[in-house]
């Protein structure tokens, strides 16, 4: 019975339908009604995703929970869904983050509440669609659709320079993905009329087109991740976005890029991936070292965390292109973990911003005297950001570094500098913001976190510690898929 049940459709459309319902509540007189519907929708969205994990078969690398319906017969476009060990954890991450976003905006967002919450719910459903699409056009539609809610969130609820940031975000990512569409059309021709991603995986392609396709994909995915040097939209977007927007951007939207490499670049054009691997490794290492140094000098907390996100995502792309199990599984764990940690870091900054309306490190100092509970949470997340063992931040970085040593000592050497830089920029910020004597009358007036904020941070703290102490269940589900992927990309398609 269960195998026929359209679980993925439910996971995609339930949040979207709730999102539309929230929009329908209209103006801010019904704000509290909108909040409760959103929370219900978000929690239901998470609950319906749980069977994805409990009924997941870890023994197979094939697609599971597959749904297949014709969409446009003329072009052979299908509503084709399915998940494997790579996409399933990402869907769960997305469904897990959405309720937190709703709660994070609970009292903070006071204008256009229904639209704000509706946008997040709809985006949550769309992102689930991205992760579960097995048809290239369906994927592309979801992919581009996910831009719209985020564009609105930054553009409407953002800070002073929000329009510049929103347009930069939109154009940058849109330009990147257009070439991906071109690649899909080429593959449609080459496969004699198929948009099936799984068919592309098996399609033999000669070297020159492989390289061109790789570059087309690279532009789309590198902008999303973002990789150096196409990262400059991210700090701007983060700084202007409201807290919830930053959390989703860092925790979820960046993962679309990482997912793209695993679903498209590596298996569709494996020879080009091998051929260009050293370039990818160098770009990733620049992200780790160069961005780490830049993060150190930031005066704005959100910018600092944004740059630190770029450095941490550098580990993701780095892990992919070593073509071994430590690297790819490490990169996957890093994506999940970064979802928790960056989300938590942005929430922490949001907690401070909501009180003093400043993101400048210099405006704080001695916060621990007034907000000891908050300081304890922030410490945990800061340490996780610095990759301390026992937190989720360590697992991915550790595995990727272990993977790097197998390929080259110097790759590992550069990657491991994150141990120093990551600790330096995180702890230096922590020291200036949290420690010390009370720095100003504004800090003196701070109140410690409310029950709502406590609940948010506590849930993320549990997630961070759980993955840090016992990552086995997480890697267990991706194990077979990654193994098959490695075998697949080990075979030439020329």
């Amino acid at each position: 019975m269960l195998s026929d049940f359209p679980l993925l459709t439910l996971i995609i459309w339930l949040p979207i339908i709730f999102g539309i319902a929230v929009l329908a509540t209209g103006d801010d007189r019904n704000a509290s009604f909108a909040r409760w519907i959103s929370l219900t929708g978000a929690i239901l969205g998470f609950l319906v995703a749980i069977p994805l994990y409990t009924n997941f078969d870890i023994a197979t690398g094939a697609m599971q929970f597959v749904e297949h319906r014709t969409w446009f017969e003329r072009f052979n476009v299908n509503y084709h869904l399915g998940v494997d060990g790579i996409s399933m954890p990402l869907i769960l991450l997305n469904c897990f983050i959405t309720p937190l976003i709703v709660v994070a905006g609970w009292e903070v967002i006071k204008v256009r509440v229904s639209q704000y919450l509706g946008a997040f719910l709809i985006m949550s459903g769309i992102v689930n669609g991205v992760f579960s699409s097995l048809d290239a056009i369906l994927f592309y539609v979801y992919w581009e659709a996910s831009l719209i809610p985020m564009f609105l969130i930054i553009g409407i609820w953002g800070g002073a320079n929000r329009v510049y940031a929103a347009i930069k975000f939109f154009l940058y990512t849109l330009l990147g993905s257009l070439l991906m569409l071109v690649a899909f059309i080429y593959l449609y021709q080459a496969s004699e009329g198929s948009f099936s991603i799984e068919a592309y995986h098996k399609l033999p392609i000669s070297m020159t087109p492989q390289i061109l396709i790789f570059i087309a994909f690279l532009l789309a995915f590198a902008v999303k991740v973002p990789m150096w040097p196409v990262h400059t939209w991210l700090p701007d977007a983060h700084v202007e976005a409201p807290t919830g927007g930053s959390v989703v951007l860092a925790a979820i939207l960046l993962k679309l890029g990482g997912y793209g490499f695993l679903r498209f670049s590596l298996p569709i054009v494996p020879d080009a991936s091998h051929y260009l691997a050293s370039m990818m490794i160098v770009l990733s290492l620049i992200a780790v070292v160069y961005i780490g140094l830049i993060a150190l000098m930031q005066a704005d907390m959100k910018k600092l965390i944004a740059y630190s996100s770029v450095a941490h995502m550098g580990f993701v792309t780095l892990g992919f292109f070593f073509f071994n199990a430590y690297g790819i599984e490490g990169a996957m764990v890093q994506m999940i973990s970064h979802g928790f940690i960056s989300g938590a870091m942005f929430l922490c900054v949001g907690v401070l911003y909501d009180r003093l309306h400043s993101r400048q490190i210099a405006d704080y100092g001695g916060v621990v005297n007034k907000m000891p509970i908050f300081a304890a949470f922030f410490m945990l997340f800061a340490m996780a950001n610095a990759g301390l063992p026992g937190t989720s931040g360590f697992v991915g970085e550790f595995m990727v570094i272990m993977s790097a040593v197998q390929i080259s000592f110097w790759y590992a050497f550069l990657a491991a500098t994150t141990l120093i830089f990551g600790a330096a920029y995180t702890l230096w910020m922590y020291k200036r913001v949290i420690f010390g004597a009370v720095a100003s009358p504004a800090v003196e007036s701070l109140q410690d976190i409310s029950k709502r904020e406590f609940a948010l941070l506590a849930i993320l703290a549990i997630a961070v510690l759980w993955v840090g102490v016992y990552p086995f269940p997480l890697t267990e589900v991706m194990h077979t898929t990654v193994e098959q992927l490695l075998i697949h990309i080990g075979n030439s398609k020329l």
Partner: protein
């Protein structure tokens, strides 16, 4: 038995969680009762395990699988043998005493519960470190003790010096961990496992493998691995040039200076190298590096201790120097002597620190020895326990430090790898310096005329029992721990745990000469270290008790040397200028120039501006006048016709 193993780390962890999360709820009294009770449980379990190990049992097993990646299992597990059992007893005993002591020392502190939570968390982390049976868990414990050290150095977080010191400690340790993690990566790459026993079994097979880090320059893989691992030890055990964090760590409350920054955590590096003896034995180059680094640390840090006036800083530099002794022992393949000195040092240094803390309480948090003097009359228990510890530290025969230090000096004397003569010189000279600075501390603090103000003097009294009892309890092994040298260093105690190659036979030669502790003490009377030590004590007495006017004259005469020592060779200044300043300058350049100007300014916004510019130019052609369009159509037709005609 296996459940007992779990109890050792988990009991303090539970205590830490209770005191940390529910400290306010259960109050101060119950916070210390719970944590002390649970650390006591840990101590009892450790002792039972130690007894079991003495009977010849050992254990190596997995608790749970942390992670599967590829074909490799990363596990959490315990290796219980003579080495880990010894460490467990030392750690839990010192930890328990420090817990008790804290009741007195932190009595009025608002962060009382938090402090107990931290030190229990430390005990858990340290146990995970020493009980581990694999590199991964070792690294976990390694970083976790670093975290607690960070939290505790910055315990008084409103003090600017404390929050500077804790960040410095963490970052300098991270530099060490950077090497350590790469070393672990190399181990995994070449051995395919992180399990100690499997790695050690395979070690001889890769002894001759080479790697070219720079093409054309082959290195032995094993040498690279050992040096990388040792960089980790240099960070944690504060060896030159990564020693700079330890003196600053004295910003933390005194109990943790005793527990973490003297007795246990800083010895983790020593423990690690001893644990890895099957690897280190295969690389003479790595052993030479260790000897030289250890030698430098031993001598030069001891010299700094002579000019310090802060009572805690004297003890801190003494710790650095003593860690140098242990490192030198490792380099001389005298691993058992290193561990033995680790143990005796843990006891006598804990007494020195806790004693110093007792003095500091009595002096109302005054740490400058120039404002002390004559405390002996007011604080007899503190005085006598510290006096005993000072004798042990100076290496006076009969006390624990004598046996362990003498074994190290003799072992270095017998060592024959490059660097050993330099190290021998260092450890020998340092015997004199150690006796000098230790007794300088005793004389300046406890003897002579009181130099404090009247108000402080009128309040002077011995510390309460929670402070003095730990001092007395720890003073017992300070005297007697050395008597076990027969079995621990020269006997077969560490036989299956520590591996020494036949050609590194220093300890073997010493064992052949050893006939008992009595004979060892008698023999010492005829050797240089004994007279150097007595000379140091005498000099200290002469300069700081008999003729107290001389030190000022010496300082005036040798101003340059005094300044260099007082400024700690200007290493802090150099680091803060070169590393901290350089990194910040580089970060700013990359940010302001590369990121903002070039990438974002030129390419990204430049592209946007190009679009605007092009559009504004192209727009001029859309004038909206029909005759303009008609004109361009005619021109177009003419051009096409021209093409057709020719």
């Amino acid at each position: 038995m296996q459940k007992l193993y779990l109890l050792v780390p988990l009991a303090p962890l539970l205590g830490s969680i209770i005191a940390g999360l529910f400290g306010r709820l259960i109050g101060r009294e119950w916070s210390h009762r719970v944590t002390i009770g649970l650390v006591f449980v840990s101590l009892l379990a450790s002792i039972v395990i130690f007894m079991d190990v003495l009977e010849g049992n050992s254990y190596n097993g997995t608790v749970y699988t942390w992670l599967m990646a590829g074909d490799t299992r990363f596990e959490v597990g315990f290796l219980i043998d003579q080495l880990s059992a010894t460490m467990m007893v030392v750690v839990s005993l010192v930890s328990l005493m420090v817990h008790v002591y804290t009741i007195g020392y932190m009595h009025d502190d608002p962060g009382y519960q938090r402090f107990f939570s931290y030190i229990s968390l430390f005990t858990f982390s340290m146990m995970m470190l020493v009980m581990s049976n694999n590199f991964l868990q070792l690294f976990f414990g390694w970083e976790a003790v670093g975290l607690v050290s960070y939290l505790l150095i910055g315990f008084w977080y409103t003090r600017p010096t404390a929050i500077y010191a804790n960040m410095k400690a963490f970052l300098v340790n991270r530099v060490g961990d950077f090497g350590f993690l790469l070393g672990i990566g190399m181990v995994l790459a070449y051995f395919g496992t992180l399990d100690y026993v499997s790695v050690f079994v395979q070690a001889p097979e890769i002894a001759n493998e080479k790697i070219e880090l720079i093409s054309g320059v082959p290195w032995f893989v094993i040498t690279l691995i050992c040096i990388l691992l040792f960089i980790g030890a240099m960070g944690k055990s504060a060896q030159f040039p990564l020693h700079v964090w330890l003196p600053d760590s004295m910003e933390g409350p005194t109990p943790i200076s005793a527990l973490i920054h003297a007795a246990t955590m800083v010895t983790a590096g020593i423990f690690m190298v001893a644990r890895m003896s099957p690897l280190f034995e295969l690389s003479d180059t790595a052993l030479s590096v260790i000897l030289i680094i250890g030698g430098i640390t031993t001598l030069f840090m001891a010299l700094v201790a002579v000019v310090q006036n802060d009572i805690k800083r004297v003890v801190a530099y003494s710790t650095l120097s003593q860690l140098g002794y242990m490192t030198v022992a490792l380099g001389a393949s005298a691993y058992s002597a290193a561990i033995f000195h680790l143990m005796t040092h843990a006891f006598f240094k804990a007494v020195l620190f806790l004693g110093a803390g007792s003095v500091i309480i009595a002096m109302h948090h005054e740490q400058n020895m120039q404002k002390m003097g004559g405390l002996k009359a007011y604080m007899p228990i503190t005085y006598w326990t510290m006096f005993v510890a000072a004798l042990a530290s100076a290496g006076v025969p009969g006390f624990s430090g004598f046996f362990s230090k003498d074994a190290i000096i003799e072992a270095v004397h017998f060592a024959n790898i490059p660097g050993s003569s330099f190290a021998y010189f260092c450890v020998l000279v340092t015997v004199f310096v150690t006796a000098l600075y230790t007794f300088r501390l005793i004389f300046m603090t406890f003897h002579g005329k009181p130099r404090m103000d009247k108000h402080t003097q009128s309040h002077l009294h011995e510390s309460p029992w929670v402070v003095t009892v730990p001092l007395v309890v720890l003073a017992i092994p300070t005297i007697s721990a050395g008597w076990f040298i027969g079995s621990m260093v020269f006997g077969d105690y560490f036989n299956n745990v520590i591996h020494v190659l036949p050609q590194h036979d220093a300890i073997e030669k010493l064992s052949a000469e050893f006939t008992g502790i009595g004979a060892m003490m008698l023999h010492a009377l005829t050797t240089a270290p004994f007279w150097l030590s007595i000379g140091g004590i005498f000099t200290a007495w002469y300069l700081y008790s008999a003729r107290t006017d001389i030190p000022a004259k010496i300082r005036a005469r040798f101003g340059l040397i005094y300044n260099i020592l007082d400024r700690k060779y200007y290493i802090d200044e150099l680091y803060s200028w070169f590393f901290a300043g350089g990194t910040r300058a580089l970060g700013t350049t990359l940010w302001k120039f590369c990121d903002i100007k070039i990438i974002d300014g030129f390419f990204v916004n430049g592209a946007a501006r190009m679009v605007v510019l092009t559009a504004s130019m192209v727009r001029r052609y859309q004038t909206g006048y029909i005759y303009h369009y008609a004109f361009s159509m005619i021109v177009g037709i003419l051009i096409i016709l021209t093409f057709w005609l020719y």
